[in-house]
Amino acid sequence: MKRLYLLQHLVARDLKVRYKNSMLGFVWTLLNPLLMLVVLTMVFSHLFKFESIVNYPVFVLSVLLPWNFFSQGVVQSTNSVVSSGGLIRKIYVPKTIFPAAVVTSGLVNFLFALVPMSVLFLLLGGRATPALLFLPVSITVLFVFTLGIGMTVSAFNVLFRDTQHITEVGMSMLFYLTPIVYPLSINGKAFGPEGLRSILRFNPMVYMVESFRLPIYEGTIPSPTHFGIFLSCAILSLAAGLAVFRSLDEKMIYRL
């Protein structure tokens, strides 16, 4: 209970500090994905000529916010324990609270950005279907998934500061290895070179994309098998995060 109260405070601090010295403040939460959408649409719809993809902006938009939440959550978590090192060395605080606070404040940002993004979605000609009601489930699973990965990398970063650089590069790599700006298949034909497809087979983010793109863009819900894989990945990642903290928790203090 007290941990929850502390978490709430850390999240509030995060949100307050994040936009404190910028003129547009909270607007950036909304402006950032919007500008990114414009760039991605301009670059990729011209570069790849995805003519057969109806309404390409909505196609990208459907996955952009979840992706941003995930990648920013992981990248910012990485440094969360290390940057609180001064505090951890002075008073006892459960260390898992730091990645948890980062990912939770990311979630709050994500949920806020959803509102103007749904307006944009409708303006771009997206259709509201009952399948959208599936999104809270997808968001919850994505939150658990991100939290697990965030905890794992934040613990590793205490031992090896390389982790921070690896996650940053890894995220931009993962962006292209995940079908965000391109589809898995066009008109029933698999998209992309063989090499990419064999990687996609092992990328859990493919199922993350499906859990958002199908309800938003296609108006359907993901198949139980595919969603089950996504859910299992999320549970596994949280278990990994907890296990890593359990085994490294006492060593961390000497590395901060």
């Binding site: 502390l6 505090l87 951890i88 002075k90 008073i91 090896f160």
Partner: protein, 252 residues
């Protein structure tokens, strides 16, 4: 004798001093192949046993590097002892580094709540105490200014005010009585005296022998991580001064 609120049972704290600090993955891999991770064991504390009674004030003295701060950190729960164990019943409030959890961008009042949460207090408790914390800190209207604009004196005053308002059962202090100007220092002393009267136990780490003699019922002299002497403050101070002068060697 009153019941003990903190019991240290032959506590030992070992640090590994790595000759080359391995901070990157590459170094770790290289070392793994070379099989040459060289380190030394350093016992910052060894076999430290003592107990702290309810309402008792115990001074901890010793030379630099004798293990005083490590002992406080173990009491605060930051370090887990390598051997032995340390039990506390009740709330321990470390006055070790004031304002450790402050965020420079947040205002004084926001930091009060944040720090309170970090020290394990609930919202209700914090709401009740907030007013008296602000009052005690004497920050006035600065309380709504981001703490990055505070002077260092204002910073520690706020930190001290929060730390003494969490209703601790055990107060851990490390040279912190010297906070702020004369007037504020006097106020701190009074606050600590009030604590002692109200049955709060205090572990006082200090280099001020006068303070030890004036405030403590008992004192522990640490030397090289071991308890060299435990007993009345006057005798402990005497031993300590003899130790410094090289006239006395503890039989460790």
């Amino acid at each position: 004798m009153t019941d003990s609120i903190l019991v240290s049972d032959s506590v030992g704290m070992r640090f590994r001093i790595y000759h080359e600090k391995i901070m990157t993955l590459k170094e770790a891999v290289v070392r793994l192949f070379k099989r040459k991770i060289s380190y030394e064991d350093f016992w910052a504390l060894r076999g430290v046993s003592f107990s702290l009674g309810r309402g008792e004030t115990v001074g901890v003295i010793g030379r630099n590097g004798s293990g005083k701060s490590t002992l406080l950190r173990i009491c605060a729960g930051v370090f887990r002892p390598t051997e032995g164990n340390l039990r506390t019943t009740g709330k321990v409030s470390p006055l070790i580094e004031l304002g450790a959890g402050f965020d420079p961008e947040l205002t004084g009042i926001e930091n009060i709540f944040l720090q309170g949460a970090l020290m394990g207090l609930s919202r209700k408790e914090m709401k009740a105490k907030c007013g008296s914390i602000v009052e005690f800190s004497e920050l006035g209207s600065f309380i709504d200014t981001p703490v990055k604009n505070y002077s260092s004196g204002m910073y520690v005053r706020l930190g001290f005010s929060i730390a003494v308002h969490v209703d601790p059962d055990v107060l851990l202090t490390d040279e912190i009585i010297a906070v702020g100007d004369e007037a504020f220092q006097k106020k701190c002393r009074e606050k600590i005296d009030a604590f002692r009267k109200n049955g709060v136990s205090i572990i006082l780490v200090t280099h001020s022998m006068d303070l030890v003699k004036a405030m403590c019922q008992r004192a522990i002299l640490l030397e090289c991580g071991r308890v060299a002497f435990e007993g009345p403050p006057e005798s402990a101070v005497e031993k300590y001064l003899a130790l410094l002068a090289g006239q006395w060697k503890p039989g460790l």
